[in-house]
Amino acid sequence: MKLQVDHQFPSPTHQDQWEKLKQFTDARIALGRVGCSIPTKAFLEFQLAHAQARDAVYQALDVTHLTEQLNKHNLEAVHVQSNAHDKEIYLKRPDLGRQLSNSSQQYLQQQYNKNQLNYDLCIVVGDGLSARAIETNAIPFILSLTQEITDQSWQLAPIIIATGSRVEPYRVCRRLFYLS
């Protein structure tokens, strides 16, 4: 049997005449339509963006790699963990993400007892809701700060890498390091 080219359905996709307005916003405007619905390409682009955002939420921070990178730049790092030990608990219990785990508290206390150093500044890197964002941005951000810190002759505490963290560990770390 032969394909009847002149009997093929025409394209059902309507493009929007205002596509040039896309230059003014990142909003998903001028997607066009099939019937009243979103065309396949635009639909899958949205799915991809959401999939990437979901994966970023559940991605674990690569603490070893981050520590190595910091060490490479002569920066010491310590890893602490909150009481939210997995992602589901982390998402459901913001209160636990604000508390340092017992073992991390003890560890920080030991460090302080051993060194008895006073610091001017402590940087805490928390994984939060996107470990990917931290892995991309933490090192460049810290490096750009360290120059300033050196210029000011400030004593920088070891960088604290906090996993399962909400905002509060900063306060706990601050107390444990006795920042001056």
Binding site: D16, Q17, A27, C36, S37, Q47, A49, L91, L129
Partner: protein, 461 residues
């Protein structure tokens, strides 16, 4: 007063009314986070059974948040209409469920009853009914409001066109507005969440919206969703404000966290009425709510989040709003963990709001860290279409690039209109047809071949 229910020789004991209400609430992460949820599924049903036996009159004598300490409780109790309540005053919560589902509960009887209902009565009955009951009973209600058009008529679905931009760029916002109008969205309101709250910026946005609405004679209204104290200052300066916006919550303390009180809301309400910008009606307020807001500011008094949400509706009711929007999944998974919880909460909010006589809409939405996706939103959207929701959000491609969450798109509104034959506000439908954008006949949307000249002209430069 404490409450008991015997299940298999085990006595379930509920210390007070708020404990009973919390334990009877369908499972959600926010009540678990607050430590007030039922311990297990059996305790939940035991609480529901005890709640079903509770006389409705109890809610007039026992408050979940102390009367002396909370102006929302005082509002609920002091404004209660005993005469409207009398036909159901002999009912238990369980009887009330039965009555709502019966043929006696009609659009008209429900309308007459609404001022006789308190937030807590409505919240209580919502806890012992299924999703289909939430949908069916709400579908009997009709709450109509007016400003420059008529919203909430049965068989209609309106949309808030939400053209947000991360830097409030006027061109970027205008591009999203044009996109939305060409897709027949924007009859509930064209409403911007501003990225920056300074008065100058807010005034610029309001002037832009006013210009667009005047220039194209669009039968709709505008809103810039800023704090009411800023709104009042803008109204005093005669900046064109159609609708006054404010987020509200179900306790005085939570509202103090928002920086508001009933007095401040009254001031905002009166300032907006004085501008006399409505042409068809005087519903000038736009409120947003959402389960979990009181817990997030640690102002929940041990009351479950759904009951507190319904208490916020008592505030809304006082100010005869044009729109009440429950932003159901925005608050995050620690309050509503997944699609199932978001769907249930959305249906509860709509049901409770409608019974109390409010023009309920819903921001059918989720954040990236919730266990939900667009498929869950499709389910809730479709259920809402059958339940008779007044309005939904319309956002380019579902993706809000300023607030970074996902909600319903312009296309989603058209899906629902086609599927169920729902129409925009009649004045707006007539405008769409007259402008040559599209014409809707029953469920059929008939598009014009070209973008109308008055709009395509804008693209020339």
């Amino acid at each position: 007063m404490s409450y008991r229910m015997m299940i298999n020789n085990h006595q379930n004991h509920f210390h007070d009314l708020k404990t009973l209400m919390a334990k009877a609430t369908p499972q959600r992460s926010g009540d678990e986070l607050a430590g007030i949820a039922a311990e297990d599924a059996t305790e939940r049903v035991a609480a529901q059974m005890a709640l079903a036996e509770l006389p409705l009159k109890v809610f007039l004598n026992e408050a979940v948040v102390d009367y002396e300490a909370d102006e929302i409780t005082r509002l609920i109790i002091d404004k209660h209409n005993l005469e409207a309540f009398s036909p159901i005053s002999h009912y238990t919560v369980g009887d009330f469920r039965n009555w709502l589902l019966s043929e006696q509960a009609t659009t008209e009887t429900l309308r007459k009853l609404s001022s006789g209902l308190t937030s807590e009565m409505v919240a209580a009955v919502s806890k012992i009914i299924r999703n289909q009951d939430l949908i069916y009973v709400a579908s009997k209600c009709e709450v109509i409001t007016q400003f420059r058009n008529t919203i909430g008529l049965k068989g209609h679905l309106s949309t808030r066109l939400q053209p947000n931009h991360p830097t409030d760029d006027l061109l970027g916002i205008s591009a999203s507005i044009l996109d939305g109008l060409m897709y027949g969205n924007g009859d509930a309101v064209i409403g911007i969440n501003p990225a920056t709250d300074n008065l100058h910026n807010l005034a610029e946005l309001l002037k832009l919206l006013d210009h667009i609405i005047q220039e194209y004679k669009i039968p709709t209204q505008s809103c810039v969703l800023t704090h009411i104290s800023s709104g009042i200052q803008l109204a005093e300066k005669n900046v064109p404000i159609d609708l006054m916006f404010q987020s509200i919550a179900g306790t005085q303390k939570a509202n103090e966290g928002f920086g508001i009180s009933l007095d401040l809301l009254q001031e905002g309400y009166e300032a907006t009425l004085a501008l006399k910008r409505g042409t068809l009606g005087n519903n000038v307020m736009y409120f947003e709510t959402g389960q979990g807001s009181a817990l997030s500011s640690n102002a929940h008094h041990g009351v479950d989040q759904q009951t507190l949400e319904t208490r916020a509706y008592a505030i809304a009711r006082k100010f005869k709003p044009l729109l009440v929007n429950t932003v159901v999944g925005f608050i995050g998974p620690e309050y509503l963990f997944n699609g199932k919880q978001i769907i249930r909460a959305g249906l509860e909010d709509h049901f409770c709001g409608k019974l109390l006589g409010l023009p309920m809409g819903c921001d059918i939405c989720y954040t990236n860290h919730a266990d939900a996706d667009q498929n869950d939103m499709d389910v809730l959207l479709t259920l809402f279409g059958t339940a008779g929701l007044n309005f939904i959000m319309g956002i380019p491609g579902s993706d809000d690039v300023m607030l970074n969450y996902q909600t319903t798109s312009f296309h989603d509104a058209l899906y629902l209109r086609q599927l169920l034959g729902l129409k925009p506000a009649p004045e707006f439908a007539a405008w769409l047809e007259q402008q040559g954008i599209f014409k809707q006949q029953n469920a059929q949307i008939c598009w014009s071949d070209h973008m109308p000249d008055q709009f395509s002209r804008l693209l020339m430069n």
